[in-house]
């Protein structure tokens, strides 16, 4: 299959290994990958802040560039929700409406793609550690994916998944919310971190690097040893 990989702005800039892991996994499964150079962002920050016209300026080139893609894999639950759920709303009753719907239908969040489209193939991953999983809210509630990432982790050798009490509670990132209301964001993050640490896990895993950016930022400041990893990095692990 020819897969168009959408690597969101902050993943490109700060978490390239997430993208590299996805490329390596999908190529190992025999797929051809293309990465559109001209796409950087999905437009979610502007959209969520109420600036829908500015969001369109970012989203229209995305729609045009991805129009002919066979299938699109996106390395983030949140940006995935932007493409799958919010583009059709953003472009409702415009000339782009049909393109937005078509794009939504062929777009998959990475872990969803592996399970739904590829049938959870054995990736030969080994990750000897105790881990806990954080459900990013957009992946969980906009895309409705709860079991998919867990199914993937269940295939990883020597990995022990410990569910945390607050797995489904928002970590408090929320995009621009984290800067507009930093103290509320931090308080929510503290609840999340405490819940993850309580499991005794060594790693917090998620399919959303944006949540992990916030969680890891807090953990570093608190001097907590627990680390965060994107699910693609775990699935690509051989250690």
């Amino acid at each position: 299959m020819k897969i168009t990989l959408f690597v969101p702005c902050f993943v490109d800039m700060c978490y390239p290994n997430v993208g590299v892991s996805i490329v390596e996994i999908l190529e190992r499964l025999g797929h051809e990958i293309e990465v559109p150079e001209e796409i950087a962002c999905c437009g979610q920050p502007a959209f969520n802040s109420g600036y829908w016209e500015e969001a369109k300026k970012v989203a229209i080139p995305v729609l045009q560039r991805l129009k002919n893609a066979e299938v699109i894999v996106i390395a983030s639950g949140s940006c995935g929700a932007m493409l799958k759920v919010f583009y059709p709303e953003l472009f409702a009753k415009t000339e782009y409406e049909l393109d937005a719907i078509a794009l939504a239908e062929k777009t998959y969040e990475f872990s969803d793609f592996l399970v739904t489209k590829l049938g959870n193939p054995d990736l030969g991953a080994r990750f000897p550690a105790k881990v806990t999983f954080h459900d990013g809210c957009h992946g969980l509630r906009e895309l409705g994916k709860k079991k998919e990432p867990r199914e993937l982790l269940s295939q990883v050798r020597d990995l022990e998944l410990l569910e945390m009490g607050e797995a489904e509670t928002c970590c408090g990132f929320g995009g621009t919310f984290s800067a507009k209301f930093p103290m509320i964001s931090t308080a929510m993050g503290e609840v999340k971190c405490a819940s993850a640490i309580e499991t005794g896990a060594d790693f917090i895993i998620s399919n959303d690097s944006s949540c992990l950016m916030h969680i890891q930022g807090l953990l570093n400041r608190q001097g907590e040893p627990i680390k965060t990893l994107h699910i693609a990095e775990v699935l690509n692990s051989r250690r």
Partner: protein, 465 residues
């Protein structure tokens, strides 16, 4: 920045630092989750029940004109008087008019959020009347001169010790740690109040058009005494409370109990269909219903958000909201707190003054998932943001998003940004946390992720060569 935002920001900052407060609310809610899940499991199909409830409310809200008139005609036929109040002021005038006409002195109230909405107690007290809240939680916050903290659990933020101290100070009772004793102290006070009151004021959880009845659900029995003992009963309710048929209650009563407090049904469920009828032994001599609009019709006119009128005020969205759980109910500064309050307050009280509540959300969607009548709460927060910006954009935010759209659309600029980021982070430690730090809101409590030595796109380009 308007005063409401400043108040919200400073209160939320203060309360998020108060770990005792956070712990108290979160541990209280943990018990609620267990009870709620247990009662939800008794529904054959909770999702189907939500769908049925949403459809019933859709029917009622989209035909409010028909069902309200049907309700009013039926209950008036049994001797109740129905008043229509467009504004909060009109509602206060109607109620004050009745109180004056009856030469009343003392008024007892059971829990009524529309009363909070129109500031009824303040209006009655300013006119020289004594008003006592009979719901225990409402009575406690009344003694503290506070607004309800939560529209289902008004005194949720207080510990037993604080309530005991309050009663000792205000009522002269002995200190106690027992919830039963605290309840008994309030009950003894209340008993005299019921007997002395000339007027009882209540709300209504539902109004049934088909039979012309109001339905009141409660756990303490105080509403029954408030409605039945005084000679005059006034019920104040929002116009959206109407349900088409009596049998609709078979769904809505258990749903309200389950979502609201984790109960199979609320302890007392009473129906009132007019004043005392010939041959009846109890009930008021007069019954008045005040139907309150107070800009609900503005919400009705908004097709996109009309479903916010489905709300049955169960508080389920507050109980799961991670923002509410950290900042608490008073921080919102609204009658209706939490996600539903953040959705409807801009409609009821002005979008520019209250838009910050819609921004103070991560859009996590826990509220929408919890809502028993399927209001699309978190998407409505997004719609409020869009509507507020469309009406009045913030120039610097708009400029920033415009500039970022140029950055995202030009790969060369994006590459330059990565390069700039790497240089910038070398110097960032020098200014981190100071007024010069553009990322201060983030870096005050969190580390920033470093810009990678090689971005993904750089990796990809190097591979293509």
């Amino acid at each position: 920045m308007n005063l409401n935002v400043l108040q919200f920001k400073s209160d939320s900052e203060r309360l998020t630092h108060n770990l005792d407060h956070r712990e108290r609310i979160q541990s209280a809610l943990k018990k609620y989750y267990v009870a709620r899940d247990d009662k939800k499991a008794r529904f054959q199909d909770w999702q189907a029940a939500r769908q049925a409830a949403a459809e019933t409310k859709w029917e009622a809200v989209n035909h409010l004109d028909k069902y309200l008139v049907e309700f009013a005609d039926k209950i008036e036929a049994r001797g109740a008087k129905v008043h229509w109040a467009s504004t909060a002021e009109q509602a206060r005038e109607i109620i004050l008019g009745i109180v004056k006409e009856k030469n009343a002195r003392r008024i007892i109230k059971s829990k009524v959020m529309t009363g909070e909405e129109i500031h009824l107690n303040a209006a009655l007290e300013a006119a020289g009347y004594d008003v006592v809240e009979s719901d225990l939680g409402e009575y406690i916050v009344q003694l503290r001169h506070e607004a309800p903290y939560h529209f289902v659990f008004p005194a949720m933020h207080l510990s037993r010790g604080e309530i005991s101290d309050l009663f000792e100070k205000e009522l002269g009772s002995a200190k106690t740690d027992s919830p039963e004793e605290l309840t008994m102290i309030a009950r003894r006070v209340m008993r005299d109040q019921y007997l002395a009151a000339d007027i009882g004021i209540s709300g209504a959880n539902f109004a049934v058009a088909e039979t012309g009845m109001i339905s009141i659900t409660e756990n303490e029995g105080n509403a029954r005494l408030t409605c039945a003992l005084p000679k005059v009963h006034i019920a104040l309710m929002g116009i959206e409370k109407v349900l088409p048929k009596f049998e609709d209650l078979a769904l809505f009563l258990p749903m309200l109990g389950t979502a609201g407090a984790g109960q199979a049904v609320t302890c007392y469920n009473s129906m009132y269909a007019g004043p005392r009828q010939p041959g009846e032994t109890d009930g008021p001599e007069e019954m008045h219903i005040v139907l309150l609009d107070n800009k609900r019709t503005h919400l009705l006119a908004d097709i996109e958000q009309r479903d916010a009128l489905h709300c049955i005020r169960c508080g389920a969205c507050l109980n799961v909201c991670p923002i509410y759980k950290n900042v608490g109910g008073h921080t919102y500064g609204t009658t209706y707190q939490g996600p539903i309050g953040s959705v409807i307050t801009p409609h009821l009280r002005g979008i520019q003054e209250w838009k910050h509540l819609s921004s103070a959300s991560t859009l996590c969607g826990a509220c929408t998932e919890a809502c028993p009548v399927k209001i699309n709460l978190h998407h409505h927060l997004l719609h409020n943001r869009r509507n507020a910006i469309a009406q009045k954009p913030v120039w610097w935010e708009q400029t920033l998003f415009h500039l970022s759209s140029i950055l995202f659309n030009h790969p060369a600029l994006w590459r330059l940004a990565a390069w700039g980021g790497r240089i910038g982070q070398l110097f960032h430690p020098l200014i981190q946390g100071t007024i010069l730090d553009p990322a201060r809101a983030w870096t005050k409590t969190r580390d920033l992720p470093p810009v990678a030595d090689q971005t993904f796109k750089e990796y990809w380009r190097s591979r293509q060569k």
